[in-house]
């Protein structure tokens, strides 16, 4: 059985692509066969975050339009041979993605025996975002502790419950996972940032993970290595926890507290 997971948010720049890369990599590390698809047509980015930008020959739209086979377009990850990337097209044609085309590619991935397909959604609620979520079995809704992001994710939760294949069929629902990213415990403690509990209460959903704001994320994207591979970093460990929870494991949330003793205190014995 192939499970389709959309990574979505409504608001732009909250961490969807960062999350898609780490989620896909984490699932592959767990031994699953995974494809991660960039739905951001016109603004290809996932290839950079995955570190495979120089190996893109054919893209998602080429496959949909029959200019390349799926096999030709899937880029095998250089670190994990169970992980494949399907890059977004750089075309400016907004109609290049069609529902039938997306369905065709997903069906083919099912036939190829993929366990998971991760769909990296573009921002917004227009066509690209709609198609990225339409066939999903799971949704990872990425949210930052900030008013416009929270409001937009509620909007997205509404769309997941009404404008997807499962919702329209009335048989099943899209399983919703809330991922809170760019979390800063110091600012939460100072009353400057919404807390995990605030976001959970407002949206009425428990979080599947909390990813701290971390400089390692930028370093990872500079290097083209999904941050989950940086096992020393808090962000990497938090992503690993979130992936384990998606796979059904129970793990306590980490990195929510302000570190008890700062460097200053340790040096001067606070």
């Amino acid at each position: 059985m192939t499970e389709i997971i959309v990574v979505t948010s409504g608001k732009g720049g909250v961490g969807k692509t960062t999350t898609s890369a780490s989620l896909a990599t984490g699932l592959a590390q767990a031994g699953k066969k995974v494809a991660v698809i960039d739905f951001d047509v016109g603004l290809r980015n996932l290839d950079l975050i995955m570190g495979c930008e120089r190996r893109v020959v054919y893209d998602f739209v080429n496959v949909i339009q029959g200019e390349a086979t799926l096999k030709q377009a899937l880029i095998k990850d250089k670190r994990n041979d169970k992980l494949f990337v399907l890059a977004a097209s750089q075309t400016r044609d907004k109609d290049a993605l069609t529902q039938e085309g997306v369905e065709k590619v997903l069906d083919e991935l099912k036939k190829e025996g993929f366990d998971y397909v991760v769909c990296d959604s573009p921002a917004g609620i227009e066509k690209g975002a709609h198609l990225a979520m339409y066939f999903a079995d799971h949704a990872m809704v990425v949210v930052n502790p900030e008013v416009s992001s929270v409001r937009d994710s509620d909007r997205i939760l509404g769309l997941l419950a009404s404008k997807t294949r499962h919702a329209e069929g009335g048989q099943a629902t899209v399983k919703q996972h809330l991922l809170l990213t760019r979390y800063n415990p110091v600012r939460v403690e100072a009353g400057e940032m919404l807390s995990v509990k605030d976001v959970e209460d407002i949206l009425g959903l428990p979080v599947v993970g909390v990813i701290p704001e971390s400089e390692n994320v930028l370093a990872a994207s500079n290097a083209g290595e999904p941050v989950i591979l940086d096992a020393q970093s808090m962000a990497g460990q938090a992503y690993a926890d979130a992936v384990a929870r998606v796979l059904g494991e129970e793990r306590p949330l980490r990195f929510l507290e302000v570190p008890k003793k700062g460097l200053f205190k340790r040096m001067f014995g606070g």
Binding site: V147, V150, R151, D154, G158, G191, D201, L203
Partner: protein, 87 residues
């Protein structure tokens, strides 16, 4: 209290303001979700009309569309303030 403490003293708890604003707007948007696109506009125009007579809070007007086996019922509720002031 040192000067540093003074400068850093009492940042406003803006998180609680954010929480309260979100609580209200999310509840409001959920109540008109799935309904016809005119519901939010209907709601704000109603609010304007009522405010000509009574000074009510923006959240005091609730508009709900209930689907009841075959019938759609538009439910309006307006909470009046305790000290009902005519303007």
């Amino acid at each position: 209290m040192g000067i540093l403490d003074f400068l850093r003293a009492k940042p406003k708890n803006t998180a609680s303001i954010a929480r309260e604003r979100l609580r209200i707007i999310v509840a409001q948007e959920r109540s008109t979700r799935g309904g016809p696109d005119y519901l939010p506009l209907l709601r704000s125009e109603l609010l304007e009309v009522i405010r000509k007579y009574v000074n009510i809070d923006p959240e005091a007007v609730q508009v709900n569309l209930e689907s009841d086996t075959g019938h759609d019922v538009l439910e309006l509720s307006v909470a009046l303030p305790d000290d009902e002031k005519k303007s």
